[in-house]
C-alpha cells in the first residue's frame, strides 16, 4: 500500500487514511522531520519534549482528519496544529521558548539579506547576534519570522497556519523584521562600545 500512496498528494492520502488507518503512516513519514525542525525552531529545545509533542500533533491530526478542509493545503493545516500544540505546550509548562540551536549557516543564509543587516567581518559573531536577537523577540514575532525565513512559507500559507488575514500577516512580519533589526543594531552598538573600552594589548 505504501508504494501506491507514495506517489499521491497529501489530500489523497488523507482520504485514503480515513478508509485505511495504515495509510496515515505515509503522512507521518512525510511530515515527521519537517515538523521536528519546526518545533525546534519554535523553541522546543529538548528532543524528548519534541518527540512527545510530535506524537500529540499526529494523534490530533488523525483524530481531526474529517475536519481537514480541502480548500486548504494539507501542509498549512498540519503546521497550524503543530503551532497550536506548541503554544499550548509552552502555556502548560509555563515556560518560554528555549534558545534556538546554533545553526549558524542557516541563520546567516536566511536572515541578514531579508533584513538588510550589515554583515560583520566575523560570521560567527553575526550568527550569535542574530540568534540572540531572535531569542529576545516576543513569541508572535519570532513565530512569523520562523515561518517566513526558516520554513519558507508563502503569505497565503502563513495566513492559513496562523488563521489571520494576509494583510495582518504582512503587518506582523514587517514589525517583526523591524524589531529584529533594532535588537541586532543595539547588540552591534553594545559590541562596538565594549571593543572601544577594551585596553589595547
Amino acid at each position: 500500500m505504501d508504494d501506491r500512496l507514495e506517489g499521491l498528494g497529501d489530500e489523497d492520502v488523507v482520504r485514503e487514511s480515513l478508509r485505511h488507518k495504515a495509510a496515515f503512516g505515509v503522512l507521518v513519514s512525510r511530515y515527521q522531520a519537517r515538523l521536528d525542525r519546526y518545533l525546534r525552531r519554535l523553541g522546543v529545545g529538548r528532543k524528548e519534549d519534541r518527540e512527545d509533542l510530535l506524537q500529540n500533533v499526529f494523534l490530533k491530526v488523525y483524530r481531526n482528519l474529517n475536519g481537514f478542509d480541502p480548500r486548504l493545503r494539507f501542509s498549512s493545516w498540519i503546521y497550524r496544529i503543530a503551532h497550536n500544540e506548541t503554544m499550548s505546550f509552552f502555556r502548560a509548562r509555563r515556560v518560554r521558548p528555549e534558545p534556538t540551536p546554533d545553526d549558524a549557516d542557516e541563520l546567516l543564509e536566511r536572515v541578514p539579506a531579508a533584513l538588510d543587516i550589515e554583515a560583520d567581518a566575523n560570521a560567527a559573531l553575526d550568527a550569535i547576534r542574530i540568534r540572540r536577537a531572535l531569542d529576545a523577540l516576543e513569541p508572535k514575532y519570532r513565530d512569523i519570522l520562523v515561518l517566513r525565513y526558516f520554513e519558507e512559507r508563502a503569505y497565503a500559507d502563513m495566513s492559513d497556519i496562523l488563521r489571520m488575514p494576509m494583510g495582518t500577516v504582512a503587518t506582523l512580519l514587517n514589525r517583526a523584521k523591524k524589531k529584529l533589526k533594532t535588537i541586532v543594531a543595539a547588540e552591534e552598538a553594545a559590541t562596538r562600545a565594549r571593543r572601544r573600552s577594551e585596553p589595547l594589548l
Partner: protein
Amino acid sequence: MQEFPHPLPPPDAPAEPFADKILDRIEKEHVVPAPRWIYVLPNALFWLLWIVSALAGAAAVAAAAFVLANAGWEFRVIVYDHWWRFMLDALPLIWISALVILMIAAYENMRHTSLGYRYPVWVVVGLNVLGSVVLGGVLYAAGIGERVEEGIGRRIPMHRSALSHQRVLWINPDRGLLAGRVSGMTDSGDAFLLRTYDGNAWTVSLINANARSRSVAKRFSDVRVVGVEAVISPTSTLPVFHACFIFPWVVQGMYPGTIDADRLSSDDLRDLVRSEDADALNAWPDANSPCNDIRPFDALWKLQERATP
C-alpha cells in the same frame, strides 16, 4: 533530576520507526477520526449566526431610517429652541448602537467559519454594513422600519419610540402645539373636535386659520396644530384652542395597512383650492388675531405652503 518520560529500550534494539509508533498508539488508544458533522455543524451555525446578525443589522438600519424620516425636520424651528437638542432627539442612537454591536457580532461569526479568517476586518465589516444599509433601505420602503421601531423600540427601557416622542412634543398647548385625530367638524367649518394622542379632547377653532389650514383640517384625519390655547370660559365643556396653522400628520415609511391620515386625491384637493378665493387662501390673520404673536410666523407660513398640496 532529569525526567525519563519513556522507558529506555534495550541497548541493541532497533529504534521503532516513528510512523509505526504513531500507528501503534492509534491502535492501542483506539483513536478514531471524529465524525464529519462535528465540523460541519459549528461551521453552519456560525454562518447562520452571521446571516441573523446581518439581517438584524438591516432591521436596525430600517428602524433608524424610520426614526430619521419622522424626526420632524421641517418643524424643528417650531418645536426646538436649540438645534443641538433637535439633533440629540433626531439621531437614532439606539439603532446606531445596535448596528455597531450587530456588525461586531457578524464579523466575529464570519471569522469563526472555516475560511472566514482570510478576510480582513474592513472587508467583512464594510460588506456587512453595505449589505445592511441596502437591505435596510428595502425593509424601510416595505414599512418594516416602522414595525421594528414602534414594535421593538417601545419595549426598550428608557427609550421612547419615534412617533410617541413626536406626540409628546406636539401635545404642548402651553407652547401652542397640539396634535391628534380630527373626529368631527361643525357644519360651518369654523371648528372641529380634536382627540389628542394623550387621550384628551379639544375644540379647535378655525376662525383665525387661513384657507390652507382649513383644507387640511377637512381632508386629513391626523393633524398637527400650531396656535394659541384659549382662556377657558366657564360654559365650555371642552378646552378651546385657536388654530393658526394646521399641518397634516403624515408618517413616512409606514407599514402597509396601518391607519394613516386620510387623504383625498390630489385632483379633489385642487378643486377645493380653486373653489376658494385666491386672496383668502393666503390671507394674513387680522389685526386682532391671536395668531399675530405666533413665532416663527414666517417660517410657519412658508412651511404650510410647502407641506400642503
